[in-house]
Symmetry: C2
Subunit: 554 residues, 2 copies
């Protein structure tokens, strides 16, 4: 029996699993928090950060991996020699500046107090000005890459983040030998092979297999100092996911209690790694990872230009397919906000009397409502709109309130809004020639809330298969770890082979209920009207945000 | 020293005051509830009422008056001989069918179990079908009265209510010698003089001094049985408010503990009686009675056609002026709904720790916010829009939600929405040639919430004078009572004289703050965009309500 380790770094913590390679059985699992957490207001020294910052210590990632591996071995009592591979997925775009020895710059005394020397997380949104500037120039220059990204580069991505560093901390830019995604850094460090992933580079760093990066002339328009950014700071070999990046170095193997025969897979992103775990294997299948936000990954055969998607990458999730990514910027976050802010005290009282949490109580109450009964339609843009409008300045909305409106009605309306958002994404793909015919869901919300999944099936008119894996992304990374090891060592030679075995576990199916889809079709019409008016025609939400910022609002 | 009694019948109870006629001092006050309450689901017999019904026992009004008068005398120990007048105001249009002896039909055994024999309150909304039919016919026939009522007759008013009776209970229609507003019935009963008020008739019964009622031919189009409704059922002398209707009959004086020398004023409506109490005396002044809903009364010199107002009546509040009425269907109701449904448990906890109620806590927290800081704009139509869109099918809306939005921000946004609604009404009057240059406010909210009043002043760009009378309408009715008695008995001969003395009490002034008005101008622009799109251009709210009703929603 052979084993593979998968680790999935999220925003708050990392989950790791030890998987039996032949059966897919999860024999151990663990969860570690970032030792220094996420810094959003200040450095440990007390130095203040600006608004919208979110940074971390690079070494936290390494420490959590070591702790996780040791814990998995301890729990399972598995012989480390039988552990043939490690797969890693991280949030993205989460980058850090490194010296030529791949040491994070924040480890140097001179940079300890410089926020730009730390890991900039995906949700660091302080480079919005740079993203706007980049998009303006790219549009003016008619850069062909824009089409691959739905027309806009996000402030979350690599180039705007590097632009912010070069503008605000040129000393950090100058000192950096490399800027890497944190997942790529980990893999490179573990194997002592400098390598990066086609997925992160393709989705988040304006690169594609056929076209490469934009020319130096484009980067010099962004900032003269960026003229040679590709050749000087980003010039690292790119490997496709599903490949082996190398094997653990002696020191690191010892640190972890593993052997040097442990293969390390090319890094993946937490969102894009998922299709392997849930057994996706043909064009037309779409995965939804439903957490605080939702990431949609659609397998396609042909390259089509679809407005408002986050990106498309050849071999970007599973080899042999074009992977289209789309997203909703807030889903679980909306429900969490609602529960924290909008739930009257009767709910907490009733929930504690019944001995259940308020989410369960809300689910119970919302379950009893019929579609349309509340007369409410909401827009789910409380954290902006990622797809298909790609506009962080949009905001949430609720229409149809009356003096009888109840909290459970509003809660259900927000659930429906996120489902309408998904339907809008599916509709956009279909309109632009990329078929979507089967939905898969994973992530905490999909297993915890049958109500939400049924609403999604009803709203989208599609059967949804929900994976009951407790840690889908970590499990998927273990699949990539087993494939990195190869068949000769007891793993798999190809991802498709591994997925055929390990992705083939039981899933719960939700089937659309015809009397609900009829009502949801009518409500979706209203959602679309609001979507188009508030998202494209009116300037109201942008003006409101401007005023909010001017007046010092959150 | 002489005294006058004023009684104000509201939806839940009646407030009465005893006022010293020379000084305006309130020497006693009392409050009585309707003995049978408001019946909205069934009669005492258990007979069920349809949706949107709201009915009462006619005699409850009389009993409450007797109890009130006795309580005022008991409390004050004033010699009843010194009480020279009684003024009465009621909600409107609140009507009842009467026999030829002015006995309510529901007192007859044969009608005890017939809901149509009872008082139909203003908020009885079950005649919407009849109102729609009336409006359709009136439009087709190009009836000139439509213009006086902003283009539409409400389901709350007298003719739709009588249409409902004639259609659903022709036996009640046939048995009725009169249909009267409950205020007119009380005055007629007290004095044994059949008389009705120009205000109720003018605002709610399609009548005006110069034009009278529509012709019989119009009524026969509504229903052949209504052909002679005016001459057979509504043929009662109309007196202007400010006049004396008569004096107490011997029996009633005895019942109340008063003398037969007590003058009774022509009945007024609870909304329209207010300007007297707060000392309004020239064109351009507008009163806002801010309670569960808001009623706006504007004094003008000339008759102008203003779309979306509720009505205009010559001498309708104070003699010598055209009174324009407009309204917002839910104001305090919105805040109440919010507090009941949308306030998280932290609020109740914090409020009880501080020993204040949640409204006070919300006020404290919302007070700390700057205009625009929340990035929110709401539409206050949770009970439809009365002015200027006149559409009960509209609903509430909130735009600009984000993951940091707090309950106090939403609460403040709803307050601002009601202020924007008032500004829209003022703007409409001004656009159609009726100037508004000074605002007066009364009602519980205006005295309880300095925050709300300051927001109104800032949003409307106008100074607001808030009367601190505890019972404005009852006090105003006492002014009418004193005027009914006349100067020879120690009262006043003209309303203007009485108002000059009794309306001249101290008021708290709220002055617009320039840095706030600047932001509110920008936010009002967004409110207007939403108002026009959701209220006129889009059909979304109506469709949502249709679906809500189809699916059995509240």
């Amino acid at each position: 029996m052979k084993y593979s380790i998968g680790i999935d770094y999220g925003t708050q913590n990392a989950r790791a699993v030890l998987v039996e390679v032949g059966s897919g059985k999860v024999v151990a699992g663990t969860e570690q928090s970032y030792p220094h957490g996420v810094m959003e207001s200040e450095l440990p020294s007390g130095k203040k950060l600006g608004p919208d910052w979110a940074i971390q210590f690079g070494y936290d990632y390494y420490k959590m991996l070591v702790l996780s591996v040791r814990d998995l071995i301890n729990q399972s009592r598995v012989d480390p020699k039988l552990i043939i591979g490690i797969g890693i997925d991280t949030t993205s775009c989460t980058i850090l500046p490194l010296d030529s020895q791949l040491e994070p710059l924040n480890e140097q005394n001179v940079f300890k107090n410089n926020p730009h020397a730390y890991v900039k997380m995906w949700k660091h949104h302080a480079a919005q000005g740079q993203a706007n500037q980049l998009n303006k120039i790219a549009e003016k220059e008619k850069m062909p890459f824009l089409k691959r990204y739905g027309g806009k580069i996000s402030s979350e991505w690599m180039i705007p983040k590097i632009m912010q560093i070069v503008e605000e901390a040129p000393e950090v830019y100058d000192a950096a030998a490399y800027f890497l995604e944190v997942g790529d850094w980990l893999v490179s460090k573990l194997t002592n092979h400098l390598v990066k992933s086609n997925v992160m580079t393709g989705y988040k760093a304006i690169w594609s297999q056929p076209e490469g990066y934009p020319d130096a002339s484009f980067f010099s328009l962004l900032n003269p100092k960026l003229n040679n950014v590709i050749s000087e700071k980003l010039n690292v070999p790119i490997l496709n996911v599903g490949n082996c990046a190398g094997f653990l170095t002696a020191d690191i193997a010892k640190d972890m209690g593993l052997t040097q025969q442990t293969a390390v897979a090319v890094a993946h992103t937490d969102a894009c790694v998922v299709p392997a775990a849930i057994g996706m294997n043909r064009a037309g299948q779409m995965a939804m990872s439903i957490g605080t936000s939702t990431c949609h990954l659609l397998l396609g055969n042909e390259e089509k230009i679809v407005p408002g998607i986050c990106g498309m990458v050849q071999d970007g999730t599973l080899p042999g397919f074009i992977s289209y990514e789309a997203g909703q910027a807030s889903v679980g976050d909306v429900f969490h906000w609602f529960v924290q802010n909008c739930l009257n005290s009767e709910f907490s009282k009733e929930a504690s009397e019944k001995g259940i949490d308020v989410y369960q109580l809300l689910e119970e109450k919302a379950q009893k409502l019929k579609p349309g009964q509340s007369g409410l339609v909401a827009l789910d843009w409380l954290n902006g709109n990622r797809s298909v409008l790609v506009d962080v300045d949009l905001s949430g909305m609720m229409v149809g309130l009356n003096l009888h409106t109840t909290p459970e009605e509003m809660y259900r309306a927000f659930i429906e809004a996120t489902a309408f958002g998904t339907r809008k994404i599916i509709k956009t793909f279909e309109t632009y020639g990329v078929p979507v015919d089967e939905l898969f869901a994973c992530g905490g919300i999909s297993t915890k809330s049958p109500l939400i999944m049924q609403i999604y099936a009803d709203v989208c008119h599609k059967e949804i298969h929900v994976s009951n894996l407790p840690q889908t992304s970590a499990y998927a990374s273990a699949i990539y770890g087993a494939t990195a090891a190869g068949a000769s060592r007891g793993g798999y030679d190809k991802i498709a082979d591994a997925v055929g075995v390990l992705g083939n576990h039981e899933k719960k199916a939700y089937t659309p209920i015809p009397e609900n889809t009829r009502i949801y079709d009518a409500l979706f019409g209203i959602y679309e009207e609001m979507h188009d008016f508030m998202g494209m025609q009116s300037n109201a939400m942008k003006k409101l945000k401007e005023i909010r910022k001017e007046m010092g609002g959150a």
